[in-house]
Symmetry: C2
Subunit: 198 residues, 2 copies
DNA sequence: GGAGAGAGTTAGTGAGTACTAACAAACATA
DNA sequence: TATGTTTGTTAGTACTCACTAACTCTCTCC
């Protein structure tokens, strides 16, 4: 690992944990096992470290490519795959999302950046539902609204467990909650006549 | 408004916005229109200000009293009432919740405190669903799981709109999203035979 | 009018923090 | 061996921050 990488890795972790002000350059350098001087030789300022760290550790995905070829037009399996992929993405970007919540308004463009995935995902789910309706697999409904609610459900689970010890509220496993959430939307989307087939 | 109250009000707002380290005693005093000296005459330390502010501005509700007498055993109306009350509570406690996300692990007991309402609410919804099933108004299902998913949905909406400019993802109004979320759970909970009556 | 309580003012302390200057040591490459 | 690059070390600057001491002002209430 290069010196740059060592510094950025420690920085993103520490800033996510303690906030921008709370994470000092001295501590970052120490934990990265470099001298503070080296840190400032690699980055001109603490602020630039944060920007570089976000740049380095925000994993951007193209939802379209990520999902489209995986859809098999089976509501349960597709929703499950979407929810699971969503959580994988969010967990990879956990640090940046935490920073976005606490420093969002001080880092220009950050909020737009972290809202990009949800927005893309919303549109993808929306289109998916439309197509599923055309194929006569689901009822007609407000697709954007349904997509948003599916996202909110996943988002709530993610935030709760990642940032506020939400796991102490229930003993249900993340996996079970996700499966349950998919079932909720299956019931919402499936026409009642077809509902019986299970 | 007393001096104490002025200080605490400004403190909770500022700390929620800028973080504990980011909000300086000088700024708090200035915005509260008192001298910094006065601030330290009223509270022995900055940390104690935060604790007093949380104490003062965390509104604790007894879910049982808040809800039970309002339930009318109509799924749609009850769920809507629950969701709306939930959002009212969360918004009242918005600052404390934000602080819990960013300083949770530095303020002993804070995470437990903000998790109390969700936990109470989970149990209340759980019992409500059980009773609704007994009354033959809804299907049998995993009530805890359903309650959690209903909460996660509300929580996701709240966090998204309150802390990360989530309103830029969709143009749907909060009210519509809430109504939509209730409909999702109605479909999930209503037996298909009865589903047709609308 | 006098006393006491609460607030302002001014000036300051000591610790920490981002960031710098200058020089020496280690290392790889040619 | 010579050279350039990277790093460590040490010391330091300028600033900010939480918090204090000491004194004055201004009320209120008797």
């Amino acid at each position: 690992m290069t010196t740059d990488e060592k510094i950025l890795k420690v920085a993103i972790d520490m800033i996510a944990k303690k906030g921008f002000k709370g994470a000092t350059t001295k501590q970052i350098a120490e934990k990265a096992a470099v001298s503070e001087m080296t840190l400032f030789r690699h980055f001109p300022s603490k602020k630039k470290i944060l920007e570089a760290a976000i740049d380095r550790y925000y994993y951007s995905f193209q939802m379209k490519e990520l999902f489209e070829h995986k859809l098999i037009w089976n509501l349960e399996k597709d929703l499950l795959m979407i929810a699971e992929t969503y959580h994988t993405i969010m967990k990879k970007n956990k640090n940046v999302i935490k920073i976005a919540i606490q420093e969002g308004h001080n880092v220009p463009g950050l909020l737009e950046q972290v809202n990009k995935h949800p927005r893309q995902l919303k549109e993808l789910i929306e289109k998916y539902l439309e197509e599923m309706h055309k194929r006569n697999h689901i009822k007609d409904c407000d697709y954007e609204l349904t997509a948003m609610n599916f996202l909110y459900m996943s988002y709530g689970l993610f935030i709760s467990r990642s940032f506020v010890s939400g796991e102490i509220i229930t003993s249900l496993s993340e996996e079970d909650v996700i499966k349950g959430s998919v079932q909720v939307f299956i019931d919402h989307l499936t026409p009642s006549e077809v509902n019986e087939k299970v």
